[in-house]
C-alpha cells in the first residue's frame, strides 16, 4: 500500500471512529435494519443443526428449563441468546444466494473477540473476578470459546485431567516443559494448570491463584511456609529463585544442578567454593560436595530450620 493511501485510510478510520463515538443515536438509527429473531426459536435451529455436538448443550448447564438465567430457561432466547437473532439466517435462501451468517464462537469467527466475549459475560460477569481485567488473556483478546466448550456436557477445561491439554493449545512452551523428567504431574493429568494459575483472575504477574508466588506454592507445600527461626533469604522471597515449577532436567525442579546452583550465591570464608568437576566422580576421588545430594548432604534444611542450633541449616 502506498504511503498516501495508508494515510488516507488511517484518516478515514479516525473520522469513522470519531463519528461512532460522538453519535450516541447511531445504533438507534439502524433500527430499520435491525436483524430479526427466528420465528420459532430453537425449533427453527434444530431443523438443520441436529448433530450430537450441538444437541449436547442439553446435557450442559446451559439448558436447564427451570433456571431462568440459562438460555433455555423460561422466556429466554434459547440458541439466539448466545448466537444472536437468527431470523435472516434461518430464512429462505434463493438458489445461489449465500445464507446469512450468524454469530459463531471459534478461532475463525469474524466477530471481534471482545464482542464474542460479551455474549458470555452478560451472564458470567461474576466469574471473571477482578483479575481478568487487564490480564494477559484480556489484553490479548482471548475468546471465552478459545478455552470453554459451552455445548459440551463436560467442559474439558473444567476437568483436572483434561484441562492442561486445553491450555497447551496456546501455551506450547509450557507443554514442552511439562514433558521434562522432573515436573509436576501435569503430563499424567493429576494436576492442572489451574492448581497454580487463575485463568480468569489473579493480579500477580503470571495470574497465580494466590496473591504471591510463595503463597501459591504453599497451597500444597505448606510445610515450607514457616516462618522459621533460621530463614534462607531467597526462600522467603520467591520459590522461583531456585525452582522451575514448569519442569526441569534436574531433580527437585531446580533451575541449575547442585552444587553449582548453591555456588551461584555462596562463596563463604572457611567453606571454600571449590570447583566441582569430573575429578569428584566415583571413579576418581568421590566428592561429597558433588555426589548424592551435594550441598544438601549436610545442609539438609535448605528451606529453613526451626532448630536453635540450625543457623547453618544443618539441624
Amino acid at each position: 500500500m502506498k504511503p498516501h493511501a495508508l494515510t488516507r485510510r488511517i484518516l478515514a478510520q479516525l473520522v469513522l471512529l470519531v463519528a461512532l463515538i460522538t453519535s450516541p443515536g447511531l445504533l438507534a438509527q439502524s433500527d430499520d435494519s435491525e436483524p430479526e429473531y427466528s420465528r420459532k426459536g430453537a425449533d427453527s435451529c434444530f431443523a438443520c443443526h441436529d448433530d450430537q455436538a450441538t444437541l449436547a448443550v442439553f446435557r450442559s448447564k446451559h439448558a436447564i428449563r427451570q433456571d431462568s438465567r440459562t438460555p433455555f430457561g423460561h422466556g429466554q432466547l434459547q440458541c439466539e441468546a448466545c448466537h444472536g437473532p437468527g431470523g435472516e439466517h434461518a430464512g429462505r435462501v434463493r438458489r445461489g444466494q449465500e445464507r446469512a451468517p450468524i454469530t459463531a464462537f471459534s478461532s475463525g469467527s469474524t466477530l471481534p473477540v471482545m464482542e464474542q466475549n460479551q455474549f458470555c459475560t452478560a451472564c458470567h460477569q461474576d466469574d471473571l473476578g477482578f483479575g481478568w481485567h487487564g490480564g494477559a488473556h484480556d489484553m490479548e483478546e482471548v475468546a471465552c470459546s478459545d478455552c470453554h466448550s459451552s455445548h459440551a456436557a463436560t467442559d474439558p477445561v473444567l476437568v483436572s485431567s483434561m484441562q492442561a491439554q486445553v491450555c497447551f493449545d496456546c501455551h506450547q512452551q509450557q507443554r514442552t516443559q511439562a514433558m521434562k523428567p522432573f515436573a509436576h504431574p501435569v503430563r499424567e493429568g493429576k494436576m492442572d494448570c489451574g492448581s497454580c494459575h487463575s485463568a480468569h483472575g489473579g493480579s500477580s504477574d503470571t495470574r497465580l491463584t494466590q496473591q504471591a508466588t510463595n503463597d501459591t506454592c504453599f497451597g500444597c507445600h505448606a510445610e515450607q511456609r514457616g516462618p522459621y527461626l533460621w530463614e534462607h533469604a531467597p526462600v522467603s522471597e520467591n520459590c522461583g529463585d531456585c525452582h522451575d515449577p514448569h519442569g526441569s532436567n534436574h531433580p527437585g525442579m531446580l533451575s541449575l544442578r547442585a552444587p553449582m546452583l548453591c555456588q551461584s550465591c555462596h562463596s563463604q570464608s572457611g567453606h571454600p567454593s571449590i570447583a566441582q568437576d569430573a575429578s569428584g566422580l566415583p571413579d576418581a576421588t568421590p566428592s561429597p560436595l558433588l555426589l548424592g545430594q551435594s550441598c544438601l548432604n549436610c545442609h539438609s534444611q535448605v528451606h529453613g530450620s526451626n532448630h536453635p542450633s540450625g543457623s547453618k541449616l544443618m539441624r
Binding site: 434459547q78 478461532s107 487487564g134 514433558m179 514457616g226 531467597p234 551461584s264
Partner: protein, 699 residues
C-alpha cells in the same frame, strides 16, 4: 462479517428489558431434548503391567507388575432443575479421583472431591535404618567407623526402602445464591501427605542420608460473599491454611564413630504453622471509555509457634537456656492491586496497573548459642534474621489497532523491591516492551514481541556480605544488576474452514550480569515450538508437535576466597516430539486414538579451574511414551475397550550413578540408581451406557 458484527452490537446494546420484549410465545422448544432422569457411562476393565518399576507408578499408580482392576465413569441425574453429577477416574489405582457435584441451578450448589496422587521417587534405595517409635535405629550388630569403608556390618544390614509418599486431597464446598446480587460460597479442604522422603542427617564431618517418615496434614478454608452492585462485583473473602506436622523432630543414630553422648542426633522437622488472610476485591465497569476499574486488597498473617528442641540432644553438653521456648513467629502480609483499563478510542485500549506486596516478618530477634552438630558449642552468640521485603510494580500498556489487520502494543513496567538484612536494600527494574500483531487474513497471524529490562541496585553492601562470611565479590543472582533482552516471534495459520492449522513460536532471552565478578554472570535462553494439526477427513485427524528449549548459563567462583579462579558453563537442552491420530468413522464401529511423545533432555557442564578444563559427563534423560486406545461399539449400550501403553524412561545422572551406600567416605547414601525402565501396560474392558447414549430431537 459486517452483518454478524451488527447483530452482536445490537444484541449487546439492547438492555435486558428490550430482550424480554422479543415475542417468544411461539418458541415452544418442542424438539428440544431436555434431559430428565439419569444418564451415565461406566468403564470397567483390567490392565496388565509387564514389569515392576516404582517410578512408572509416579502419579499413575502402576508401581508394580501384574494385573490391576480399574473403574472410570461419569453420570448426570437431572430432574426439575436439580442436577447432580459424578465422575470417577482410576478408582482401582492409587491415583483415584472421585468428584460429586449437585445444584439447583440459580439457587444453590455443592461439591465433594477426593483425589490421590502417588509420588514414587526411588525403588532402588537401600538403608541400614529401621524406624521405631520416632527414631531411625541402626541394627544391633552395627559397627561404627570414621568412614564408610569401615562399616563392617554394612552389606549385611542394607534393606530395600522405597522412597515414596501418597498425597490425598479431600474437598467439600457449597454455594448459595440468595439473589442476583448476593452469593455466599465456602470451601473446606484437607490435604494429607504420608510416606518416606530423603533427608540428610549430619554429624560433625559426616552425614547419612535418612529415609525420613513424613506425615503432613493441611486444612484449608476459603469462605466468601459476593455482591453485585450495578455494573460491578465485590467479593469479601477469608482464606485460612493450617499445617500440622505429626513429627516434630527427626531423630537418628549416627552410623559413624561419635563422641560420647553424640550417638543419637536430632534435627527439627518442619514446624506447624498457619496463615490467614482477609481480602476484598472487585471490578466496576462504566460506559465512559468502556473502562473497568478492578482492585484487590488483602491482609494476611502467618504464625508459627512450634516448641523448640534443645540446643543439642547430647547430654554431655551443658544446655544453655533458650531465649524463649518457641519462635512466636509472625509474618504480616499486605497485598494491594489496582488495575484500570479503558478504550478511549474504538481502536485504542490502555491499561494502568499498580501492585504492592509486603512481607513483614515481625518475629523477635534474639541471641542463640549454637551447638555445632551436637558435638561442641560454637561459643558465640548469633542473632536470628527475620527477612522482610516490600515489592511494588507499576505498569502501563497501550494497544492500538492501527489497521484492521495490524495491532501495535507497547508497555512499560517499573518494579521496586526493598529488603531488610540483605546485601541489597533497594532494587529497581525497568522493563520496556513492544508487540506487533499482523493478521492480514482471518486464518493467518504473525506476532512479534520484544523488549529490554534493566535491574539496578542502589549498592551491593559488601559489609553485609562479609558479615555473612561471603566473598565480597559475590553477587547473588537475585540481587545483582541484570540487563535482559528478550524477543518472541509467533506465526499461526488456522481456520476452521480449512483442514490444516500450523503454528510456530520462537522465544529468546539473554541475561547479562555484567557487574558480577562471582556468581552467575550470564544466562541465555532459547525456546521454540512447532505445532501442526490436520483434519484429514471428517473421520480422521492427526497432529504433530515439536518443542525445544536451550539454556546456557555461565558462573564464576573462587576457591581461594579472592578473585575468580574457576568458571562453569551449563548447557541445558530439552526437546519434545509428539504425534497422534484420532480415527472415528461417522457411522463406524470404533473410535481409535494413537498418541506418541518423546522427551530428550541433556545437560552438559564444563568447568575451567585455574586454566584446567574439565567436563562432567552429560546428564541425560529420555522418555518415550506410546498409547493406543480403541473403543469398539459393540451395541447401542456397550463398547469394548482396548488400551495399550508403552513407556520407556532412562536417565543418566552422575550424582547418583555408581554411588553405592559406601562410595563416599563421609556420607552414607541410600545408593539410589538412575531411572531405567521399559514397561508395557495392556488393558481390556467395557464401557456401558445407562440412559440415552445419543440425544434425539423430541418428536
Amino acid at each position: 462479517m459486517k452483518q454478524a458484527g451488527q447483530i452482536a452490537l445490537l444484541v449487546l446494546a439492547l438492555p435486558a428489558s428490550a430482550l424480554a420484549e422479543v415475542d417468544v410465545s411461539e418458541w415452544l422448544c418442542e424438539s428440544c431434548p431436555f434431559e430428565d432422569g439419569y444418564q451415565s457411562n461406566v468403564e470397567a476393565g483390567t490392565t496388565y503391567v509387564s514389569d515392576e518399576d516404582i517410578r512408572y507408578g509416579n502419579a499413575t499408580g502402576y508401581d508394580k507388575d501384574g494385573m490391576y482392576l480399574n473403574v472410570d465413569g461419569d453420570g448426570v441425574y437431572s430432574r426439575d432443575g436439580y442436577r447432580q453429577s459424578w465422575r470417577v477416574e482410576d478408582l482401582g489405582l492409587d491415583s483415584r479421583v472421585v468428584t460429586v457435584e449437585g445444584a439447583r441451578q440459580g439457587r444453590y450448589g455443592y461439591w465433594l472431591e477426593y483425589n490421590e496422587i502417588p509420588s514414587r521417587v526411588f525403588g532402588t534405595t537401600e538403608t541400614v535404618f529401621d524406624y521405631n517409635s520416632g527414631t531411625l535405629l541402626l541394627p544391633p550388630a552395627w559397627v561404627p567407623a570414621g568412614t564408610t569403608d569401615g562399616f563392617a556390618a554394612l552389606e549385611d544390614s542394607l534393606k530395600t526402602r522405597t522412597i515414596e509418599s501418597d498425597w490425598g486431597f479431600a474437598r467439600v464446598g457449597g454455594r448459595w445464591i440468595a439473589s442476583d446480587a448476593f452469593e455466599v460460597y465456602a470451601n473446606y479442604s484437607r490435604q494429607t501427605r504420608d510416606g518416606i522422603d530423603i533427608k540428610s542427617g549430619s554429624s560433625y564431618t559426616q552425614a547419612a542420608l535418612l529415609p525420613r517418615r513424613i506425615d503432613y496434614a493441611t486444612d484449608q478454608a476459603d469462605v466468601g460473599v459476593r455482591f453485585r452492585i450495578g455494573s460491578g462485583t465485590l467479593t469479601l473473602a477469608y482464606y485460612g491454611s493450617y499445617f500440622d506436622n505429626r513429627n516434630a523432630a527427626l531423630t537418628w543414630q549416627t552410623p559413624f564413630t561419635a563422641p560420647p553422648g553424640a550417638t543419637e542426633l536430632t534435627a527439627a522437622e518442619e514446624p506447624d504453622n498457619n496463615f490467614q488472610q482477609l481480602s476484598l476485591s472487585g471490578a466496576f465497569q462504566t460506559d465512559f471509555w468502556q473502562s473497568v476499574l478492578a482492585f484487590s486488597v488483602a491482609m494476611g498473617r502467618g504464625e508459627q509457634n512450634e516448641n523448640f528442641l534443645d540446643y543439642t540432644s547430647n547430654p554431655n553438653i551443658p544446655g544453655a537456656a533458650l531465649p524463649r521456648p518457641s519462635l512466636q513467629g509472625e509474618v504480616d502480609t499486605s497485598n494491594y492491586a489496582v488495575t484500570f483499563t479503558a478504550r478511549p478510542l474504538d481502536r485504542v485500549r490502555v491499561k494502568l496497573a499498580y501492585r504492592y506486596d509486603d512481607r513483614d516478618n515481625s518475629t523477635a530477634v534474639d541471641e542463640w548459642s549454637r551447638v555445632i552438630t551436637d558435638v561442641f558449642p560454637s561459643g558465640e552468640l548469633q542473632e536470628n534474621v527475620p527477612y522482610s521485603f516490600t515489592r511494588s510494580r507499576f505498569s502501563a500498556e497501550a494497544d492500538v489497532k492501527v489497521l484492521d489487520e495490524l495491532r501495535v502494543s507497547a508497555g512499560y513496567d517499573r518494579n521496586e523491591l526493598d529488603r531488610d538484612y540483605q546485601e541489597v536494600a533497594e532494587q529497581t527494574e525497568d522493563i520496556g516492551w513492544g508487540q506487533v500483531r499482523w493478521r492480514p487474513a482471518s486464518w493467518f497471524e504473525l506476532r512479534g514481541r520484544g523488549g529490554v529490562s534493566r535491574r539496578d541496585i542502589n549498592r551491593y553492601d559488601e559489609d553485609v556480605a562479609v558479615s555473612l562470611g561471603q566473598n565480597p565479590l559475590m553477587r547473588k543472582y537475585n540481587l545483582a544488576y541484570r540487563y535482559r533482552e528478550f524477543g518472541e516471534l509467533t506465526a499461526m495459520v488456522s481456520a476452521p474452514t480449512k483442514p490444516l492449522s500450523f503454528g510456530v513460536t520462537v522465544f529468546s532471552a539473554d541475561d547479562s550480569y555484567s557487574e558480577s565478578k562471582l556468581g552467575l554472570t550470564s544466562s541465555d535462553e532459547m525456546r521454540y515450538t512447532v505445532d501442526l494439526s490436520w483434519k484429514v477427513s471428517d473421520a480422521i485427524s492427526v497432529y504433530l508437535m515439536h518443542g525445544g528449549e536451550s539454556v546456557e548459563a555461565e558462573q564464576a567462583g573462587s576457591a581461594m576466597f579472592s578473585a575468580p579462579d574457576w568458571n562453569a558453563v551449563h548447557d541445558d537442552e530439552f526437546h519434545h516430539w509428539g504425534a497422534g491420530l484420532h480415527w472415528s468413522p461417522a457411522e463406524g464401529k470404533f473410535d481409535l486414538r494413537l498418541d506418541y511423545s518423546n522427551g530428550e533432555g541433556d545437560t552438559a557442564i564444563r568447568v575451567d579451574s585455574n586454566g584446567v578444563a574439565s567436563a562432567l559427563p552429560k546428564l541425560t534423560s529420555s522418555l518415550d511414551s506410546l498409547r493406543a486406545e480403541m473403543a469398539w461399539h459393540f451395541s447401542e449400550r456397550l463398547d469394548l475397550t482396548f488400551d495399550v501403553r508403552y513407556e520407556s524412561f532412562m536417565t543418566d545422572d552422575w550424582a547418583i550413578a555408581d554411588v553405592a551406600a559406601d562410595t563416599l567416605p563421609t556420607i552414607l547414601t541410600l545408593g539410589a540408581s538412575p531411572y531405567d525402565y521399559d514397561i508395557w501396560a495392556v488393558g481390556v474392558g467395557f464401557r456401558y451406557y445407562i440412559g440415552e447414549r445419543d440425544l434425539q430431537l423430541a418428536d
